[in-house]
Symmetry: C2
Subunit: 135 residues, 2 copies
Protein backbone atom coordinates (compact mmCIF):
# COMPACT_ATOMS: atom_id res chain seq x y z
CA UNK A 1 0.00 0.00 0.00
CA UNK A 2 1.63 3.20 -1.18
CA UNK A 3 0.42 6.54 -2.52
CA UNK A 4 -0.18 5.04 -5.96
CA UNK A 5 -2.45 2.37 -4.53
CA UNK A 6 -4.37 5.06 -2.65
CA UNK A 7 -4.78 7.03 -5.86
CA UNK A 8 -6.04 3.90 -7.62
CA UNK A 9 -8.59 3.29 -4.85
CA UNK A 10 -9.69 6.91 -5.01
CA UNK A 11 -10.25 6.76 -8.75
CA UNK A 12 -12.10 3.45 -8.59
CA UNK A 13 -14.20 4.74 -5.71
CA UNK A 14 -15.32 7.60 -7.94
CA UNK A 15 -15.90 5.31 -10.89
CA UNK A 16 -15.44 1.59 -10.51
CA UNK A 17 -15.64 1.11 -14.26
CA UNK A 18 -12.72 3.42 -14.94
CA UNK A 19 -10.29 1.76 -17.35
CA UNK A 20 -6.92 0.62 -16.07
CA UNK A 21 -5.37 2.51 -18.96
CA UNK A 22 -6.87 5.80 -17.78
CA UNK A 23 -5.83 5.20 -14.20
CA UNK A 24 -2.39 4.51 -15.54
CA UNK A 25 -2.22 7.89 -17.23
CA UNK A 26 -3.15 9.65 -13.99
CA UNK A 27 -0.39 8.02 -12.01
CA UNK A 28 2.09 7.78 -14.88
CA UNK A 29 2.25 4.00 -14.94
CA UNK A 30 1.53 1.48 -17.65
CA UNK A 31 -1.81 -0.33 -17.86
CA UNK A 32 -0.33 -3.73 -16.92
CA UNK A 33 1.22 -2.18 -13.83
CA UNK A 34 -2.18 -0.88 -12.73
CA UNK A 35 -3.75 -4.24 -13.49
CA UNK A 36 -1.29 -6.02 -11.23
CA UNK A 37 -1.78 -3.51 -8.43
CA UNK A 38 -5.56 -3.81 -8.61
CA UNK A 39 -5.30 -7.59 -8.58
CA UNK A 40 -3.11 -7.41 -5.48
CA UNK A 41 -5.56 -5.06 -3.77
CA UNK A 42 -8.25 -7.65 -4.45
CA UNK A 43 -6.10 -10.53 -3.23
CA UNK A 44 -5.19 -8.67 -0.05
CA UNK A 45 -8.90 -8.22 0.56
CA UNK A 46 -8.70 -4.44 0.52
CA UNK A 47 -10.94 -4.27 -2.52
CA UNK A 48 -13.93 -6.46 -1.64
CA UNK A 49 -15.78 -5.87 -4.88
CA UNK A 50 -17.32 -3.41 -7.30
CA UNK A 51 -20.87 -2.21 -6.89
CA UNK A 52 -23.54 0.16 -8.06
CA UNK A 53 -24.80 3.43 -6.73
CA UNK A 54 -28.52 3.30 -7.39
CA UNK A 55 -31.34 5.81 -7.14
CA UNK A 56 -33.60 3.72 -4.94
CA UNK A 57 -36.52 6.14 -5.22
CA UNK A 58 -36.63 5.55 -8.96
CA UNK A 59 -36.74 1.83 -8.26
CA UNK A 60 -39.86 2.19 -6.15
CA UNK A 61 -38.40 2.74 -2.68
CA UNK A 62 -40.60 5.19 -0.80
CA UNK A 63 -39.72 4.39 2.80
CA UNK A 64 -36.31 4.15 4.39
CA UNK A 65 -35.95 3.50 8.08
CA UNK A 66 -33.44 3.05 10.84
CA UNK A 67 -34.65 0.42 13.26
CA UNK A 68 -33.03 -0.04 16.63
CA UNK A 69 -33.80 -3.56 17.73
CA UNK A 70 -33.49 -4.22 21.46
CA UNK A 71 -32.91 -7.94 21.62
CA UNK A 72 -35.11 -10.09 23.88
CA UNK A 73 -33.41 -11.99 26.70
CA UNK A 74 -34.86 -15.14 25.17
CA UNK A 75 -33.11 -14.49 21.86
CA UNK A 76 -29.38 -14.31 21.21
CA UNK A 77 -27.87 -11.35 19.47
CA UNK A 78 -25.86 -13.53 17.14
CA UNK A 79 -28.78 -15.50 15.74
CA UNK A 80 -30.85 -12.34 15.38
CA UNK A 81 -27.99 -10.69 13.53
CA UNK A 82 -27.49 -13.62 11.19
CA UNK A 83 -31.17 -13.91 10.36
CA UNK A 84 -31.80 -10.22 9.85
CA UNK A 85 -28.63 -9.13 8.06
CA UNK A 86 -29.45 -11.14 4.96
CA UNK A 87 -33.04 -10.03 4.45
CA UNK A 88 -33.48 -8.28 1.10
CA UNK A 89 -34.75 -5.03 2.62
CA UNK A 90 -31.72 -4.67 4.87
CA UNK A 91 -28.98 -2.33 3.68
CA UNK A 92 -26.91 -2.31 6.85
CA UNK A 93 -27.11 -4.26 10.08
CA UNK A 94 -24.73 -3.38 12.90
CA UNK A 95 -24.33 -4.42 16.46
CA UNK A 96 -23.92 -1.29 18.52
CA UNK A 97 -22.85 -0.36 22.05
CA UNK A 98 -25.37 0.10 24.80
CA UNK A 99 -27.97 -2.51 25.56
CA UNK A 100 -27.97 -5.62 23.38
CA UNK A 101 -29.04 -3.78 20.28
CA UNK A 102 -28.91 -4.05 16.52
CA UNK A 103 -29.09 -0.96 14.35
CA UNK A 104 -30.76 -1.82 11.07
CA UNK A 105 -31.00 0.36 7.98
CA UNK A 106 -33.65 -0.96 5.61
CA UNK A 107 -35.45 0.21 2.46
CA UNK A 108 -39.10 -0.48 1.63
CA UNK A 109 -41.48 0.04 -1.25
CA UNK A 110 -44.19 1.27 1.06
CA UNK A 111 -45.22 1.45 4.70
CA UNK A 112 -47.02 -1.87 4.45
CA UNK A 113 -43.73 -3.55 3.65
CA UNK A 114 -42.16 -1.78 6.62
CA UNK A 115 -44.87 -3.05 8.94
CA UNK A 116 -44.47 -6.60 7.68
CA UNK A 117 -40.74 -6.29 8.26
CA UNK A 118 -41.23 -5.00 11.80
CA UNK A 119 -43.56 -7.87 12.61
CA UNK A 120 -41.05 -10.35 11.27
CA UNK A 121 -38.14 -9.05 13.33
CA UNK A 122 -40.23 -8.61 16.47
CA UNK A 123 -39.57 -12.24 17.34
CA UNK A 124 -35.98 -11.24 18.12
CA UNK A 125 -36.60 -8.05 20.05
CA UNK A 126 -38.39 -4.75 20.39
CA UNK A 127 -37.99 -2.47 17.37
CA UNK A 128 -37.75 1.30 17.61
CA UNK A 129 -38.22 2.89 14.20
CA UNK A 130 -37.05 6.21 12.78
CA UNK A 131 -38.06 7.11 9.26
CA UNK A 132 -35.49 8.78 7.02
CA UNK A 133 -36.69 12.13 5.72
CA UNK A 134 -33.71 13.27 3.69
CA UNK A 135 -30.48 11.63 2.56
Amino acid sequence: MDDIDLKILEMLRKNARESLANIGKSVELSAPAIGKRVKQLEEKGIILGYSLKLNHEKLGIRTKAYIILKIHQSSTLKTAYNQIAHLTEVQRCDRITGDDCLCILAFFKDNKELITFLERISQYGVPNTSILLES
Copy 2:
Protein backbone atom coordinates in the same frame (compact mmCIF):
# COMPACT_ATOMS: atom_id res chain seq x y z
CA MET B 1 -37.55 -0.71 -17.01
CA ASP B 2 -38.28 -4.35 -17.70
CA ASP B 3 -37.04 -7.67 -16.37
CA ILE B 4 -33.91 -7.46 -18.49
CA ASP B 5 -33.01 -4.09 -17.00
CA LEU B 6 -33.53 -5.54 -13.53
CA LYS B 7 -31.25 -8.45 -14.38
CA ILE B 8 -28.63 -6.00 -15.64
CA LEU B 9 -28.83 -4.01 -12.41
CA GLU B 10 -28.59 -7.18 -10.38
CA MET B 11 -25.47 -8.32 -12.21
CA LEU B 12 -23.80 -4.93 -11.99
CA ARG B 13 -24.68 -4.70 -8.32
CA LYS B 14 -22.80 -7.95 -7.76
CA ASN B 15 -19.90 -6.84 -9.91
CA ALA B 16 -19.86 -3.38 -11.39
CA ARG B 17 -16.92 -4.27 -13.60
CA GLU B 18 -18.75 -7.12 -15.28
CA SER B 19 -18.35 -6.87 -19.04
CA LEU B 20 -21.34 -5.91 -21.15
CA ALA B 21 -20.62 -8.97 -23.27
CA ASN B 22 -20.99 -11.29 -20.28
CA ILE B 23 -24.18 -9.63 -19.15
CA GLY B 24 -25.40 -10.06 -22.70
CA LYS B 25 -24.82 -13.80 -22.56
CA SER B 26 -26.84 -14.08 -19.34
CA VAL B 27 -29.86 -12.32 -20.78
CA GLU B 28 -29.38 -13.55 -24.35
CA LEU B 29 -28.84 -10.15 -25.87
CA SER B 30 -25.96 -8.69 -27.85
CA ALA B 31 -23.31 -6.53 -26.23
CA PRO B 32 -24.43 -3.34 -28.01
CA ALA B 33 -27.96 -3.92 -26.75
CA ILE B 34 -26.69 -4.12 -23.18
CA GLY B 35 -24.56 -1.05 -23.73
CA LYS B 36 -27.55 0.97 -24.81
CA ARG B 37 -29.66 -0.23 -21.90
CA VAL B 38 -26.96 0.61 -19.38
CA LYS B 39 -26.54 4.04 -20.94
CA GLN B 40 -30.28 4.62 -20.64
CA LEU B 41 -30.27 3.52 -17.02
CA GLU B 42 -27.55 6.09 -16.43
CA GLU B 43 -29.40 8.81 -18.31
CA LYS B 44 -32.62 8.10 -16.43
CA GLY B 45 -30.65 8.54 -13.21
CA ILE B 46 -31.36 5.04 -12.01
CA ILE B 47 -27.69 4.14 -12.11
CA LEU B 48 -25.96 6.97 -10.23
CA GLY B 49 -22.47 5.55 -10.56
CA TYR B 50 -20.10 2.68 -9.97
CA SER B 51 -18.25 2.32 -6.72
CA LEU B 52 -15.98 0.17 -4.62
CA LYS B 53 -16.65 -2.14 -1.72
CA LEU B 54 -13.66 -1.63 0.54
CA ASN B 55 -12.38 -3.36 3.64
CA HIS B 56 -12.12 -0.26 5.80
CA GLU B 57 -10.38 -2.09 8.63
CA LYS B 58 -7.49 -2.90 6.32
CA LEU B 59 -7.28 0.77 5.45
CA GLY B 60 -6.80 1.73 9.08
CA ILE B 61 -10.38 2.27 10.23
CA ARG B 62 -10.70 1.09 13.84
CA THR B 63 -13.75 3.01 15.00
CA LYS B 64 -17.15 3.24 13.37
CA ALA B 65 -19.96 5.14 15.02
CA TYR B 66 -23.55 6.15 14.66
CA ILE B 67 -24.05 9.64 15.97
CA ILE B 68 -27.50 11.04 16.60
CA LEU B 69 -27.19 14.79 16.52
CA LYS B 70 -29.98 16.70 18.21
CA ILE B 71 -29.87 20.08 16.54
CA HIS B 72 -29.66 23.25 18.64
CA GLN B 73 -32.52 25.75 18.37
CA SER B 74 -29.92 28.31 17.37
CA SER B 75 -28.82 26.20 14.39
CA THR B 76 -30.86 25.16 11.39
CA LEU B 77 -31.12 21.56 10.37
CA LYS B 78 -30.40 22.35 6.76
CA THR B 79 -27.11 24.12 7.34
CA ALA B 80 -25.99 21.46 9.79
CA TYR B 81 -26.84 18.78 7.24
CA ASN B 82 -24.99 20.52 4.43
CA GLN B 83 -21.88 21.10 6.51
CA ILE B 84 -21.70 17.64 8.01
CA ALA B 85 -22.72 15.45 5.07
CA HIS B 86 -19.57 16.29 3.13
CA LEU B 87 -16.99 15.69 5.84
CA THR B 88 -14.56 12.95 4.83
CA GLU B 89 -15.35 10.73 7.83
CA VAL B 90 -19.09 10.71 7.07
CA GLN B 91 -20.44 7.68 5.26
CA ARG B 92 -24.12 8.48 5.64
CA CYS B 93 -26.01 11.48 6.94
CA ASP B 94 -29.78 11.30 7.17
CA ARG B 95 -32.46 13.50 8.58
CA ILE B 96 -34.75 11.33 10.64
CA THR B 97 -38.17 11.60 12.25
CA GLY B 98 -38.57 12.62 15.86
CA ASP B 99 -36.93 15.73 17.22
CA ASP B 100 -34.84 17.76 14.82
CA CYS B 101 -32.19 15.11 14.46
CA LEU B 102 -29.50 13.95 12.08
CA CYS B 103 -28.34 10.37 12.07
CA ILE B 104 -24.68 10.23 11.04
CA LEU B 105 -22.65 7.14 10.23
CA ALA B 106 -18.96 7.90 10.28
CA PHE B 107 -15.66 5.99 10.19
CA PHE B 108 -12.50 6.93 12.09
CA LYS B 109 -8.90 5.80 12.32
CA ASP B 110 -9.00 5.97 16.09
CA ASN B 111 -10.96 7.32 19.02
CA LYS B 112 -9.02 10.56 18.97
CA GLU B 113 -10.36 11.24 15.49
CA LEU B 114 -13.86 10.46 16.73
CA ILE B 115 -13.52 12.94 19.59
CA THR B 116 -12.26 15.66 17.25
CA PHE B 117 -15.23 14.96 15.00
CA LEU B 118 -17.70 15.16 17.90
CA GLU B 119 -16.22 18.48 19.00
CA ARG B 120 -16.51 19.82 15.49
CA ILE B 121 -20.18 18.92 15.07
CA SER B 122 -21.13 20.02 18.58
CA GLN B 123 -21.61 23.54 17.25
CA TYR B 124 -24.74 22.32 15.48
CA GLY B 125 -26.27 20.19 18.21
CA VAL B 126 -25.84 17.61 20.94
CA PRO B 127 -24.30 14.35 19.72
CA ASN B 128 -25.26 10.96 21.09
CA THR B 129 -22.75 8.33 20.01
CA SER B 130 -23.07 4.57 19.56
CA ILE B 131 -19.99 2.62 18.56
CA LEU B 132 -20.36 -0.16 16.00
CA LEU B 133 -19.20 -3.49 17.35
CA GLU B 134 -19.91 -5.78 14.43
CA SER B 135 -20.97 -5.27 10.84
